[in-house]
């Protein structure tokens, strides 16, 4: 009922306010959030997962990949501009989005609603994990940009702790899920998959992507624990470097 016409009722300003047509910046911020999840964060995620699969080929191949990446121009700019800051924005605005929504899965236990909730929890897990991951492997211990040969060992050391391994597995699943469903959401919200059928079909694609990422991620993580390379990491860094330099063309070709 139109209480607005009735000054004495006093409930005109209670409840959810109407659309603020033409006001505010949430459209831009929200779209940036959604875009940043795909580019650059999603793109980097794919690159990172693929790079890590080099671990399957052994410490040398992995070191070569690390070295290659660090040979790219303007690495600090790339790191901060295309990875750290976007992730920070995506995470902070994501938390803000989470805080403003309210899950109601108890009464409406429907598929989309589960996905809604899962997207928030996987995002949180991914962010927490990424924070510790970046701190441990990028900002503490041996600086891998200078010593790419130590990279396999550094990761091996991290994963040797069974708790850490468990965290990695959970995080790989959460991150893959978050990205894949995020990609589906992106396509739906940006008007790329406008039909019900298109969304369903793209849903299959995203599910396949999630499965692929999870498989690759877990395989890569377990590769660091391969007994074959148990002593590999003790090789001298210099020897490693030479070897990897020699292998570089192959790595590039294999991509």
């Amino acid at each position: 009922m139109a209480t607005a016409t009735n000054p004495s009722s006093g409930s005109a300003h209670r409840g959810v306010q109407p659309l603020r047509a033409g006001q505010g910046h949430s459209f831009l911020l929200r779209k940036l959030h959604s875009l940043s999840g795909v580019i650059p964060i999603g793109a980097f995620l794919l690159e990172h997962f693929l790079s890590n699969t080099e671990a399957l080929k052994g410490p040398a191949a992995y070191a070569a990949q690390v070295k290659f990446l660090n040979s790219l121009p303007w690495v600090p700019v790339l790191e901060w501009g295309f990875i750290f800051l976007p992730i920070l924005y995506h995470a902070c605005y994501g938390l803000y989005i989470w805080s403003s929504g309210k899950s109601n899965i108890t009464y409406y236990p429907w598929a989309g609603n589960w996905m809604y909730m899962a997207q928030r929890w996987t995002g949180l897990i991914a962010f927490g994990y990424i924070a510790q991951h970046v701190y441990h492997l990028r900002f503490s211990g041996v600086r891998l940009a200078d010593h790419p040969g130590a990279s396999f060992a550094k990761v091996h050391h991290e994963l040797a702790n069974p708790w850490m391994l468990a965290l990695y597995l959970v995080a790989i699943i959460a991150t893959s899920w978050h990205f894949s469903y995020g990609l589906w959401l992106f396509a739906a919200k940006w008007g790329i998959t406008t039909g019900d059928k298109a969304r369903r079909r793209f849903g299959y694609v995203c599910t396949a992507l999630a499965v692929a990422l999870i498989t690759l991620g877990i395989a890569s993580a377990l590769a660091f624990l391969n007994p074959k390379y148990k002593y590999g990491w003790t090789e001298s860094p210099s020897a490693q470097t030479t070897q990897s330099q020699l292998q570089m063309p192959d790595v590039a070709a294999s991509k």
Binding site: M1, A2, T3, A4, G10, S11, R14, G15, V16, Q17, P18, L19, R20, A21, G22, Q23, G24, H25, S26, F27, R30, K31, I97, S99, S100, G101, K102, S103, N104, T106, Y107, Y108, W110, A111, G112, N113, M115, Y116, Q119, L185, A188, K189, W190, G191, I192, T193, T194, G195, D196, R199
Partner: protein
Amino acid sequence: MAERTIKVEIKRQHDPDGNAVVEKFEIPYRPNMNVISVLMEIAARPVTVDGKETTPVTYESNCLEEICGSCSMLINGRARMACSALVDNLEQPLRLEPLSKFPVVRDLQVDRSVLFENLKRVQAWVPIDGSYDLGAGPRITPQVQEENYPLSNCISCCCCMEVCPQFNVATGFVGAATIAQVKLFNDHPTGKVLKEERLHAMMGDGGIQDCAYAQNCVVACPKELPLAQAISDVGRQVMLQAVKDIFTT
């Protein structure tokens, strides 16, 4: 043998600022009762299960055919229309509560005027020149009519908003019902003259960007409107408009 009864628990609140209390009723069972007829029965004998005299329950209703959109409420926790909620299909005790996202007026009656205000903000109408005789309207193919007709079936019950995890005071999200009307009028040959204005309205705070695709609206809508379809179509229109704005302003 004891006569068969229906047990009902109703969340009652005397006025917008009052405390909510639950009153329990037990009324004689008859076959094919719906929730409205339970409330009518209580009105004719407003006595709780403990024998305490109380007042008839306040609730909104009108057509009782699920076409006017008045009687939405939470029935056993879920938003739905009371007229089409058959007691025989519901778990007892029946739990009746007002919609949770709208200010309570009294008992089961809430204030849903925000939807009508939103329809104004997006100019959900066809801006005709006048009501005088200007001849026939634009030709519309049966295919377009079949696409638009379902959207025009929205009964403004607000179930889609109630079940949406994003519709709340913090977001001020506009909700699926209004977005569906934006699509309806943007797709009309005459209505589209306001398309750009509607899309700009949709980009405001609380606009379409706040949808998070939980798609509860699609399941909850009693008239089965193609809401996800409407939201994604309007989403595309808004994005195209945003891109156009970047290059033309």
